[in-house]
């Protein structure tokens, strides 16, 4: 459903993303991994329209969306979450999500419908949907759920999830990973997931793409990537054994 080719972004003299190409199949969860500064966030920014590419094409559902304004890309069905949640703190939780439900659809739904949809999404992520519930009452896990709810409320076909687990404890992490899996399973939403916590990511993704210095250095199933010498060298390092074990446990 998403096909990226020759994608390049240059900032001044620095090439953040260089000639990358990959495909995302409908209904899959794709892990996008790599060291800090390897170009993961830039790739997300290019796909979601926050940045315009220097070169290259991004085809979504058969049409080139590279360089379209972010609001138009949102209407086409691509949503993203941020590593650091960015809720509207002075709006209620419900208003945060309802706003996304209303404006996120190219044909703005009726007020009641948008609120009903917002409540449904909040229920899915286990957040309170009563109009009095404030953002201030949420902890790290709650804020990440809100970030996810807001992205889902736009009715995406493709979700770009940016490091959804940072700052969570282990049970919260597993819950969040299960939630992504459930979103794919129940809603049929395709997901690209950027995440540093490999032990959790490798449990859920179907396939991984590994970036380093803005280039794709490996691509494949979790077990292939976890054993790839290049990936171990630039990214997994001493964690390689743990990650390989996670992948092996998953197979059984």
């Amino acid at each position: 459903m998403l096909s990226v080719s020759d994608l390049t972004k240059v900032f001044g003299g620095f090439t953040a993303v260089s000639n990358i190409a990959f495909e995302v199949k409908e209904g899959e969860i794709l892990g996008l991994i790599g060291p800090n500064g390897s170009g993961k966030s830039t790739t997300f920014n290019l796909i979601s329209g926050a940045l315009a590419p220097t070169r290259g094409s991004i085809r979504f559902g058969g049409e080139d969306i590279a360089g379209l304004p972010a609001n138009r890309i949102a209407h086409r069905g691509i949503a993203r979450t941020f590593q650091i949640p960015r809720p509207f703190r002075r709006l209620s939780i419900l208003d945060n999500v309802a706003l996304a439900a209303f404006y996120g659809h190219a044909e703005h739904p009726a007020r009641e419908k948008a609120y009903a949809y917002a409540r449904e999404v909040l229920k899915l992520v286990n957040l309170p949907s009563d109009p009095a519930a404030r953002v201030d009452g949420l902890g790290a896990a709650g804020l990440k759920k809100l970030e996810l709810a807001r992205a889902l409320a736009t009715g995406p076909k493709l979700l770009l999830a940016d490091e959804s687990l940072g700052g969570l404890d282990e049970s919260e992490m597993n819950q969040a990973a299960d939630m992504l899996a459930a979103i794919r399973k129940e809603r049929g939403i395709t997901i690209i997931w950027v995440e540093h916590i490999m032990g959790v990511l490798m449990r859920v993704v179907d396939r991984c793409i590994v970036l380093d210095y803005g280039e794709v250095i490996a691509e494949g199933r979790p077990d292939e990537v976890a054993h790839d010498p290049k990936v171990i060298e630039v990214y997994l390092g001493t964690d390689a054994a743990d990650v390989q074990k996670t992948v092996a446990d998953r197979a059984t």
Binding site: P69, N71, A74, F88, L91, N96, L99, Y103, A151, T154
Partner: protein, 288 residues
Amino acid sequence: MQVFDIFLLEAVVNGILLGGILALLALGLNLVFGVIDVVWICYAELIMLGMYAVYYGHNVFGWPLWLALVFGVAVVAVLGALLHQFVIRPVLAAEPINQLLVTGGVLFFLQAVATLAFGIEFKNIGIRLPQLSVGEMYLSVARLIAFLVALAGMIGMYLFLTRSYLGTAIRAISQDRAIMPLMGVNPNRIFLITSALGGGLAGLAACLLVLQYDIHPAIGLTFGPITFMVCVMGGLGNMIGGFIAAFIFAQFISVGGFFLHIEWGYVIAFVFFIGMMFWRPQGILGSK
């Protein structure tokens, strides 16, 4: 002693009425600043043009007053949107000082254009509303209307901002501008609407002021400084703060003017403002 109290009460009531119009003046400027983070230094000049629009509608084109007033609001709303599209939008990412300077430039530009187009002679729409006597007090009907319209305008704005999606989007974009497109919102569209609304509020203020004051190209200088002071004292961008500050300011002017001389009222109000800037530079309800 009895007479003295009545006059003092009259000053207080007139202060409240003046507060209404000051609050309305501050509302549009606060809305624009709160949402777009840009101060329209030329705000009062938009009001000046609105007053001319009413004058031309009513006295030159011969329209009924209500139509001329609607025309005045519409003209300034359009001017607000044009100001955003052609002056503010190109400098949105610039330093605040550049934004101030460019809208300051627009201030002098509008004054010069008004002088060229309308001349320097004072104009008025020829409608003088009577004084209303309540007991032994005399109240200006024009001010009473201004107060009621200002109050209705503020309640309407509050309901719009809290009850509609567009209003929710306006409140949201004032908190995080960059993230809005991800929710399918075109930020520039929201900014244009906000600017037209801010302009519309300036136009509404123009309609009320034209009932009380003569029009001339420099009349913006009469309302401009006090509008900024009300906004700053309330906490720039804070609509409720601006509302409260407007009434405090108006009391200083009205009651201060009563005890001393009308000009002294302004002097006291400005001294109070300067003092406030030392004591609470963030404004009454400002947070930083």
